[in-house]
Amino acid sequence: MRALVLAHALAFALASTAAVTPSRAQQGADPLPAGDGHDLVAVACSQCHYLGTIAKIRDGAPGWRRYVDNMVLRGAQLTKPEIETVVAYLARNLGPGMNLPPAKPVALPDGPGKDLIAERCTLCHNLERVVAVKRERKAWPVIVADMVAQGAPVTTEEAKTIFDYLTANFGD
């Protein structure tokens, strides 16, 4: 693994963190969808780590902006106008519901809210993320409100249906 890091001259940032080293295969293929701004992202976001994870994240523009701002503080070389291009590209091509990667099927128990969740709560991540673990009953309304703030397209009534369903079926 060390040899690989060195071969890719990545040592400046990652040599001391054996945790994540992109494999050759991961580095080789371009995982990003085509679109305006692709080339900028491919260059400016591949200096320190591979692009594979970015391609697996779905988020709204505010979420993407937060990531990109964080990367600028870490040393990504992007000017202000370029940040706008990058965020626009990411939100458009890797926004809610866009180019969704295949996900592990998850069977939800029947009940009001089931279809809503299967439809709206899979736009940015898979269902496994939602229901893999039981949570405190009082945590669910907070999480759903959080998701709405992140950009989940649900009305206030739909949100209530969703957290009631989750509290009943996945509350602890």
Partner: protein, 633 residues
């Protein structure tokens, strides 16, 4: 008279005959003896014991091994011994009763002892001396990895098993225990006799402080410490001789020419500049060339920031390919282990203190092994000698204009990002960075042992007349509080702040606070408490494996139990407080400052927002031992 002295130096003449000979030339006996004494360090041979006794630089003394060890350290100018005692090393501490020149600094866990000595060595440029128990050596070794990788001089000694008992599987004996230090020391040795202790100590000090520096390990068998012998003690000046290497003149001229003619030069800088105290020379060279400077900004792998981060020529983190200023035609790497980046069309010049990692990762076109301070000064002089001042000023101005515009734009952008994230609860890392920049004095030594805290570094000013940054390259956590203590010891007259993560704090445990309290060290400790191994999780999840897919943070959430670090400090007699709101920070810093004025440590447990992938998650794999029981016992 000259001839007499020559004969004496060549050992053809005894000291007594030298003195009488000098008297014959009309010198008083006192003056003749003084001359003989001054000559002694050079001339005394093993046979001329008297000369050695009379000499101040080289003396023969008698005592047990502990005394010989201490006397040799004293003669080398050692000011502090960082320690945790064992039974076998008592002759050393017995000897110290009568040697007030060396101060004893106690730590209550060996990792803390090493990190204190390491911080002291980084800040003072001197060798840290450590004595710990034989069986505590593995505790010490964790922190020795930082010392080793960052090439900091350290002498670590233990009292080991009696030589007669070696190999008998005694209760605390492990065979050839010194071997375990092999991969993280420059040299390790077991003293073979009492007589050899002083010489072994000299050699250890010498190897530790010969660049590239590093830790050295000495094993001193208990019988060698307890038994008596007569041996020489040498002044430090006689064996810690200057080893600062000047680069080859022709190579320097070649580099100077390349740098003058370059269209798009780039300087890459690293920690060896800090170690060589070459920051002023670097600034002068960068300004003379008008070349952009890239190095450490917020990434791992470095322990210092040798160039002012607010300087218009500083462009931040050195990346594999730099979008600004574009591909350099000449890349000048100065003392940066990670700075040799080869590319077609780039001429790579690398000047390094450490020959072992020079041209190790990438092919280098022009390589020089040298002390960075001397090398940069020579390079600057060579450049000045090759072109008129006005031509150089023109070249620098053309190059610098573009860089100034870029760095100003990026500084503004970073500040805007920081401001945009300033109002949150828990407090954002960025807000804390902004507040620290506002409240810390410019001459603060900022000691950082925190992983994700690196995103706040770019919102602060380091280097030059601004805060001096101390971290570790390998990021072996549990270093920061103890190292902060060591920095304060080396620099009592500047403010010292230690910033550690909640994870980092728990790696050292609170033990460094014990030394801070005992020695009344006015150090402000800031625990950047995000209840998580935050950046560890970011790296793990950034690999997009099963934890990421299933959103299950199997390893990094720390919030349960929710450790109260201020309460922990209280147990050690260190005042502290918990801060949960950004609005409370200003008053908090004022109270910390008051404690510093009073001359005592102060701890702030600041609750910080987790950031990045999986940051929202508070889940961890549940398991209750209580529930496993079939009996309520």
């Amino acid at each position: 008279m000259k001839e007499l002295i020559k004969q004496y130096l060549d050992r053809g003449l005894s000291r007594r005959r030298l003195v009488s000979g000098l008297s014959a030339f009309g010198l008083s006996t006192v003056a003749a003896k003084a001359v003989a004494q001054n000559l002694a360090p050079l001339g005394q041979g093993i046979g001329s014991g008297n000369a050695a006794t009379a000499s101040t630089a080289i003396r023969t003394i008698e005592g047990n091994g502990g005394k010989l060890f201490v006397e040799q350290l004293k003669a080398a100018g050692v000011e502090y011994i960082f320690f945790n005692p064992s039974t076998g090393d008592h002759p050393i501490f017995d000897a110290l009763v009568d040697v007030p020149e060396i101060k004893l600094i106690k730590g209550v866990q060996e990792g803390a002892v090493v990190a204190m000595a390491d911080g002291y060595a980084r800040a003072s440029g001197r060798t840290g001396v450590v004595i710990v128990a034989n069986i505590g050596l593995p505790n010490a070794m964790t922190q020795m990895v930082n010392t080793w990788k960052d090439q900091i001089p350290l002498l670590v000694a233990v009292a080991s098993v009696d030589q007669d008992a070696l190999g008998r599987d005694q209760w605390q004996e492990t065979d050839h225990h010194e071997l375990m230090t092999e991969p993280i020391t420059k040299w390790f040795w077991q003293a073979q006799s009492t007589e050899a202790i002083a010489e072994t100590t000299r050699r250890g000090l010498k190897f530790a402080s010969t660049p590239p520096c590093g830790p050295v390990f000495l094993s001193l068998p208990t019988n060698t410490l307890a038994q008596h012998a007569k041996t020489q003690i040498w002044d430090g000046s006689k064996f810690n001789v200057p080893m600062r290497i000047r680069p080859d003149k022709a190579d320097v001229e070649k580099a100077a020419r390349l740098l003058i003619e370059a269209k798009n030069p780039l300087l890459s800088i690293g920690d060896e500049i800090t170690w060589c105290r070459a920051d002023k020379e670097l600034l002068e060279l960068a300004e003379l060339l008008g070349a952009p400077v890239a190095g450490e900004m917020s990434n791992l792998g470095y322990w210092s920031k040798p160039f002012p981060t607010r300087h218009p020529l500083f462009i931040g983190t050195l990346l594999r390919t730099m979008r600004f200023p574009g591909k350099p035609d000449v890349l000048l790497n100065l003392g940066n282990r990670w700075g040799e980046i080869a590319a077609p069309g780039t001429t790579l010049i690398s000047i390094r203190l450490d020959p072992t990692s020079l041209a190790r990762q990438a092919p280098v076109d022009l390589a020089m092994v040298a002390d960075l301070k001397l090398a940069i000064a020579d390079l600057t002089a060579a450049i000045r000698s090759m072109a008129t001042a006005s031509r150089l000023a023109d070249i620098a101005e053309q190059r610098a204009a573009r860089t100034r515009a870029y760095s100003a734009q990026m500084a503004e952008l970073r500040e805007a990002i920081g401001r945009g994230l300033a109002d949150s609860t828990p407090i954002s890392m960025e807000r804390l960075g902004i507040e620290l920049e506002k409240h810390l004095d410019r001459d603060t030594c900022y000691v950082a042992d925190v992983d994700s805290g690196k995103t706040m570094d770019p919102l602060m000013a380091f280097g030059g007349d601004d805060k001096q940054y101390f971290g570790t390259g390998p990021n072996v956590l549990g270093w920061g509080m103890a190292a902060g203590f060591g920095v304060k010891l080396a620099r009592p007259d500047v403010p010292v702040v230690s910033v550690v993560g909640d994870g980092s704090f728990l790696f050292s445990g609170p033990q460094p606070l014990w030394s801070m309290a005992r020695y009344k060290a006015p150090v402000t400790v800031i625990v950047l408490n995000n209840h998580s191994y935050n950046n560890e999780r970011n790296r793990i999840w950034n690999g997009a494996g099963r934890q990421f897919e299933a959103a299950r943070d199997m390893t990094c959430y720390n919030g349960n139990p929710d450790v109260d670090f201020a309460k922990t400090a209280d147990a050690f007699g260190v005042e502290g407080e918990t801060v949960k709101e950004a609005a409370a920070l200003a008053d908090t810093f004022a109270r910390a400052r008051a404690a510093m004025v009073e001359g005592r440590p102060y701890l702030l447990d600041i609750h910080i927002k987790r950031e990045g992938l999986g940051a929202v998650s508070q889940w961890y794999p549940p398991y209750s031992l209580a529930q496993q029981r079939t009996r309520k016992v």
